[in-house]
Amino acid sequence: MLADELVLEAHGLKKIYLSGEVQTPALRGVDLSLGQGEFVSVVGPSGCGKTTLLNLLGGLDRPTQGRITLDGTRLDLASEKELSKVRLNNIGFVFQAYNLFPVLSAAENVEYVLMLRNVPAAERRRKALELLGAVGLAGMADRRPTRLSGGQQQRVAVARAISTNPRLVLADEPTANLDSGSAGQLLGMMEELNRQRGITFLFSTHDPRVVERAHRVVRLRDGLVVDDGNGNHATV
Amino acid sequence: MILFKLAWRNNWRHRWRSGLTAAAVVFGLSITIWGFCFTEGSHEQIIRNSVESFTGHVQVHRKGFHDDPSLRKVFYPDSQFVPELEGGVPGLANYSFRISTFGLASVGETSFAAMIVGIQPEREQEFIHWDRKIEQGRYLHPGDINGALVGADLAENLGIGIGDTVIIVTQDYYGSLCGALRVVRGTVRSHARELDRGGLLISLASAREMLSMQGMANTAVVMATGSEQVPQLISELDNRLGAGGLEVIGWRRIMPDIVQAVELDNVFGILTNLILLLVIGFTVLNTFLMSVMERIREFGIMRSLGASPGRVVGLIVVEAALLVGLGFVLANIVGIGASVYNSVHPLDFSEMGGDELSKFYGMDPRIYTRLTWQTLVYPNLFVAVVILLALIYPAWRAARISPAEAVSRRH
């Protein structure tokens, strides 16, 4: 494990949502560093800011204050275009609601991202099949999402997320819609990918059985990190 | 009331879609209203130009003259016409007598074949207002046996000037060659095609003399007090004159060509506007179908709470009525506003180089729109029908929603 090489570093992250006059502070100064190859879970009660944190780290949203450095790029300063590029090349996303494209087959969902990276067509198909094999869906490449179970859909989502060889995969409650069997399989598969390919995983969850599998657990409460796990403590 | 509130909020929920749909209705309907007013204005102008500037509302001839004109088919106004009108005819404003024929006319080196019309200058002045149609020179003075007026286009083509002498040669009542010398007093622009391009007006007295037709005429031009009075005037005149071997015809028969051209233009106008409205209809259909489809759950729940299918359809219809009603009101304001504006400030096609064309059609190149109840009612009716058609399927679809379908379909 190359824990000393940092993939992501966040400092003093604050996020305040404005809805009309009402200000909701979702994050109130979070520091977090992720090293290469880590397998980290973010936990905390509902509304503590897990989703908000992952959105900021993935460049889906911008912090109200603070710095985020991903692979040397300052996400808090990056332009929309640069963020698109970072999301495409450096990060993979797995969503709670799977969010596959319903008009595309499993393989095409994976190919889509490869196409965005201008991978030639033949190469794309080969790679997509290989990845689907890796997540245990070898025979289902040509099925549309509506003909896959939740667990299968989420595995396609994982295959899609890792298809561009990202340094970091962010997953917001990836198992929330899955039964415990599928959830365990998904976690096992993610662990496998973490081990074999050295991809850094950061996932949020409520499920204690999922938390168990994490190598490091970051605990959030009321928008603050209360425990950074594994002694890699954030200086508060 | 709650139905209205619900309907209004549903429309408001999709502001963009509702706004675009209402805007589409406004666009289609206001253009159609304006278009109808424009067409009506131009048609009315063509007809009025022709009626008021030359043909009159009604003409009376010897029976058979209209279908197969000949100089020998004449009548004697003093014995056959005037006495029969004694006591006054309701709806009749004025009349005068004419003799028309064809002849060869020459001015200087050029000769041309002309429609020669003998008119009663003083009488016709009262209702045709010839003096207003004089482009150059002057109108015929009373008793001016030697004067002539020439169609403006004819004068222009042949280079005829005021004071030129015209030699007229033609066949007289008995078929023998006859001739006369006349002096051009003025040129007329009447907007009646045959007159402007080839007409020569002289006095009735001089025509009678030249053609050996003392006391005769072949046409009586009759003006009604208003165009609405024409049908009644025709039958009244027919009662009085028919027995004496005379034939009374209205302007519709005098100029079937113009009447038909107008009719044909109306057909094309309706068809083209219908295409426009159908395109708009698809937008309306889309909006309402989508508004039904995305609320299948909602309607299903309404049904499971005990609402009848009619209730659901009612909601859709009220929603549509609110939205489209707004469109109708705005469209009528815009359409009527534009039409009224252009009825005062005409569209001028002369800048587009439309002068030859308007001359050909006997029109003024400036076209005034004309708002009548038809130009208002028909477009509104067409749009209403198109929208009703567009509502059928969404309403039917909404009526068929069952509580079960609503639950099984996850959105």
């Binding site: 609601a97 095409e108 889509y112 | 004109p69 064809f102 000769s111």
Partner: protein, 410 residues
């Protein structure tokens, strides 16, 4: 790009009733436009054809000022072999001289004004199609100086038939009244009632004798090999006749007939306005539908953005979907118009009910709609462009969808 097209294509079938409505709207609009265009074009072509085929030819040579004052004294005497030299100009098929005058024609009982044209029967046959229009009797032969050919309508009006006598009255070059007897040798029928009523033909030789202008012509009509690009021919002939003491001028048919030119202009204008209105009406529908497409798919588009799709790519995808719908609408509407237009072009659109009205407009009552291949193409492309342009705004909005939308619970 391929996958974007695939996505756009499959998206069409997700909500097929919405797609069908959009296709229907575009289809109906385009169908109406094309049918209207075909008929308008049919009107114009008839006017043009009648003018070219009977009255004007493609190019005319006249004495300067003749068309301002079309009178017989404005005639000219062509130089020797001028006709042959004109025919040797590149692109010219044939030329024929005419001598015309407005005359009075009398039958036993009636008279009418007529544009009498003296023609060289043999040359005229190569330039205009009067020869082909003879419905009864025969066309003028070279020696038939006592024959007159008149239109069906005129014959009816004057109450004469083949072999009947007509007296032509006119003024000659000495301003003397001339009247001469002719016999009806042929009766022609055309698609132009106006022309049928007012035109009559005799041989050039007898016309010259009648008017006392033994060598003169009022016009030389020229027929080109091809209708388009007449400028070089006009220029070529112009350079020939400038040697004639420049008393002559050369015109294209369009310049000679301002009425025709304005009719074309006016029809073009109305067609243009109609296209504009229909495309705007279509735009309301397209914007409406594409906006719904975008709103429905906010989440999906957010995911696309989240995993690295650029705003431009999202926009492209939405535009592609609209473009595909546009193509489908064009196939439907254009196809239907193509069938109807083809049928009417072959069988004619019979407006006989309004024959008098058509005559008032200078037209025969059967219209043959016509749309040139290029005009089909331009209509299709402009309709597609209208659809795409109308979709720009919804597509622009789709590009602005924020990637966080992908995560937000609905």
């Amino acid at each position: 790009m391929g996958i974007f097209i695939r996505i756009a294509w499959r998206n069409l079938w997700r909500n097929y009733s919405r797609s069908l409505i959009m296709i229907g709207g575009i289809g109906v609009g385009l169908f109406g436009l094309l049918v209207y265009y075909g008929i308008s074009n049919g009107f114009i072509n008839q006017l043009v054809e009648v003018s070219i085929e009977l009255e004007l030819g493609h190019v005319q040579v006249t004495r300067r000022g003749y068309y301002q004052h079309p009178v017989q004294s404005n005639s000219f005497t062509p130089a020797n072999s001028l006709m042959e030299r004109i025919e040797s100009v590149h692109g010219v098929r044939a030329a024929a001289g005419r001598l015309s005058a407005a005359v009075l024609v009398n039958s036993a009982e009636k008279s009418n004004r007529v544009d009498l044209v003296g023609i060289d029967p043999e040359r005229e046959g190569r330039v205009t199609s009067i020869r082909n229009m003879i419905a009864q009797g025969e066309y003028l032969g070279p020696g038939q100086d006592g024959k007159i050919v008149i239109g069906r309508k005129l014959a009816e009006h004057l109450g004469v038939g083949l072999g009947d006598k007509l007296v032509v009255m006119t003024q000659d070059s000495e301003n003397e009244l001339q009247s001469r007897l002719f016999r009806v040798g042929g009766i022609f029928e055309t698609n132009s009632p106006l022309w049928e009523k007012t035109a009559a033909f005799i041989t050039l030789r007898s016309m010259r004798k009648l008017l006392g202008r033994p060598l003169q012509l009022t016009a030389i009509l020229v027929r080109a090999e091809r209708e388009k690009s007449l400028e070089p021919i006009v220029a070529g002939i112009d350079s020939l006749v400038t040697g004639e003491g420049s008393a002559l001028e050369v015109f294209e048919w369009k310049e000679v007939s301002p009425l025709l030119a304005q009719s074309i202009e006016m029809f073009d204008f109305f067609v243009w306005v109609f296209y504009l209105i229909i495309y705007l009406a279509m735009a309301f529908g397209v914007v409406n539908i594409m906006l719904m497409v975008v709103l429905d798919r906010t989440r999906e588009l957010g995911v696309m953005r989240a995993i690295g799709t650029t705003p431009g790519q999202v926009m492209t995808m939405v535009l592609l979907e609209a473009a595909l719908l546009g193509v489908a609408g064009i196939i439907v509407g254009g196809g239907a118009a193509w069938l109807l237009n083809g049928y009417l072009a072959a069988n004619g659109l019979d407006l006989g009910r309004w024959a008098d009205g058509m005559e008032f407009m200078g037209l025969g009552s059967v219209i043959y709609p016509r749309i040139e291949p290029l005009e089909w193409l331009v209509s299709f492309l402009s309709a597609e462009a209208a659809v795409i342009v109308s979709s720009i705004w919804p597509a622009w909005r789709s590009a602005g969808i924020e990637p966080v939308r992908a995560i937000q619970f609905e």
